[in-house]
């Protein structure tokens, strides 16, 4: 072959060595997804074979040469019922099976390690809680559930790791989550699968799966100094968030200690869990989520904080388990406001008419 066309030969060789029908299975969910996939392929093949056999068989048996006169048949209720009920049954199995997978992939376990992903035209920025930043790459350890909290800074993107069989849209203005547990060390593709403009096809990268030890080494070697929460703390101070969100009795905003994952009662009477999405909304659209007992006086930080900044703030608030840190932040900056005529009330969060929200 190679004397006919070396290029073609090379090409064929490359193809034969690289040929694969399925991507590698590198996450815990991948074999489960593939099981359903194979089941579907099997059903399709059986169905297709049946249809082809019927067409070819009847074409041979009842071609005009063999069967010059057609016999008129009205139809058959039993047959109609058969090919209504059997496909329906199969489809329903696929539905239930698929739904189970779907809920599993989009419901992260509580103990998952959280990594933030920001999509923007045209790159992926990955932020580890330890402050490690990556661009168009994602390092994860094996054997540990990893939750990705994804957001887009501009248009729709889609974070896709075929080897893990997971994919999630990065939506502007809203966090989405997906999780996986990598099983096999190696380097895998990372794609943006939602068309996002000119360089859509350049928005690709590598997912590097490492042993836990290697991963720890990698984390240590690529830290930039501050953790995400520390970045957030700095931002918290520079935006003077602590002017209101402190523990003083006359504070205009609610205390943020332990607010993460707590149940808040809003001024509308609704209750809501303060998850990442809520924290983000509360920073950017504060008046939509007013905690009961506080006045809607918080300004919006839309346009003043980048998505990365919001993530840092959210991460800071998440890790805030005592007010001690806020107090410290308070003391290290000169942004302490005078307690402007506020009357000290016992019980910091007692309903006062003019309090402000912010988690």
């Amino acid at each position: 072959m190679d004397h006919i066309s070396p290029v073609l030969w090379q090409f064929l060789q490359k193809w034969l060595t690289h040929f694969a029908l399925f991507p590698p299975e590198a996450s815990k969910i991948a074999p489960q997804m593939d099981a359903l996939y194979f089941f579907m392929v099997l059903v399709s093949l059986v169905g297709l074979t049946l249809v082809v056999l019927l067409i070819v068989g009847f074409s041979i048996l009842y071609s005009k040469t063999r069967h010059p006169h057609a016999v008129q048949i009205e139809g058959s209720t039993i047959l109609e019922a058969t090919w209504t009920i059997i496909p329906l049954g199969l489809f329903l199995i696929m539905f239930v099976w698929g739904a189970l997978l779907y809920f599993r992939i989009y419901t992260p376990p509580a103990n998952a390690m959280n990594i933030y992903v920001v999509g923007k035209q045209w790159m992926w920025k990955v932020e580890h809680p330890g402050g490690q930043h990556e661009i168009n790459a994602l390092h994860v350890p094996t054997g540990r559930p990893v939750q990705l909290t994804i957001i887009s800074q501009d248009v729709f993107h889609s974070f896709s790791i075929p080897a893990f069989r997971v994919k999630r849209e990065a939506i502007p203005g809203r966090y989405t989550t997906v999780w996986f547990e990598a099983t096999t060390p190696g380097t895998y593709h990372l794609f943006c699968t939602q068309y996002c403009g000119t360089n859509h096809s350049q928005m690709i990268g590598d997912v590097v799966v490492m042993n836990p030890d290697d991963f720890r080494k990698w984390l240590d070697s690529s830290t930039s100094g501050d953790s995400l929460a520390q970045d957030g703390e700095r931002l918290f101070a520079s935006l003077s968030c602590n002017a209101c969100h402190n523990t003083r009795p006359d504070a205009r905003g609610p205390s943020l200690a332990n607010v993460y994952n707590s149940r808040l009662t809003l001024s509308t009477g609704e209750t809501i869990t303060a998850d990442e999405a809520y924290l983000r909304q509360a920073i950017l659209n504060p008046s939509q989520h007013i905690t009961q007992g506080y006045a809607p006086i918080m300004p919006t930080y839309q346009g003043q904080v980048s998505e990365e900044g919001v993530i840092a703030l959210v991460e800071y608030i998440k890790n805030l388990d005592s007010d001690y840190r806020v107090q410290q932040t308070l003391n290290t900056t000169d942004l302490v406001p005078e307690s402007a005529g506020g009357k000290p009330v016992a019980g910091a969060k007692a309903p006062a008419a003019e309090k402000e929200v912010k988690p």
């Binding site: 419901t107 509308t268 009477g269 609704e270 209750t271 809501i272 869990t273 998850d275």
Partner: protein
């Protein structure tokens, strides 16, 4: 699927609604308009169905009145009351698909917070 295009007796002459009916409907529509404005100035309260799910009566009443007015217009001004089944079916299917558009879009919005309560 019953109607056919052969001329049938019952719709040879299509029904002519009398001006008196029209006048009555006009009156009713104007009264309902007044009613809806009046109702909007009264706090009708709310019904807390479940925590986080509250039904406010004001918009419900406003929409109910609007629907009543629409029904009057459709039935009498637009002669649907006197029309054949096909027209009635057409109108019904129009509203059905309209409700599907709004209703099924809302299923997404109202259940987004589920599981995060």
């Amino acid at each position: 699927m019953s109607e056919q295009n052969q001329p049938k007796e019952h719709d040879q002459e299509h029904h002519i609604v009398s001006p008196v009916t029209y006048g009555a409907i006009l009156l009713a529509l104007l009264i309902f308009t007044g009613l809806t404005v009046w109702a909007s100035y009264i706090d009708l309260g709310a019904w807390q169905i479940a925590p986080g799910l509250t039904l406010f009566w004001n918009p419900v009443v406003a929409l109910a009145i609007a629907c009543t007015k629409m029904t009057l217009v459709v039935l009498f001004f637009m002669h649907v009351k006197y029309s054949r089944k096909l027209t009635k079916l057409t109108v019904a299917s129009g509203f059905f698909v309209f409700i599907v558009l709004i209703g099924m879009t809302m299923t997404d919005y109202f259940t987004r917070a589920w599981g995060r309560w």
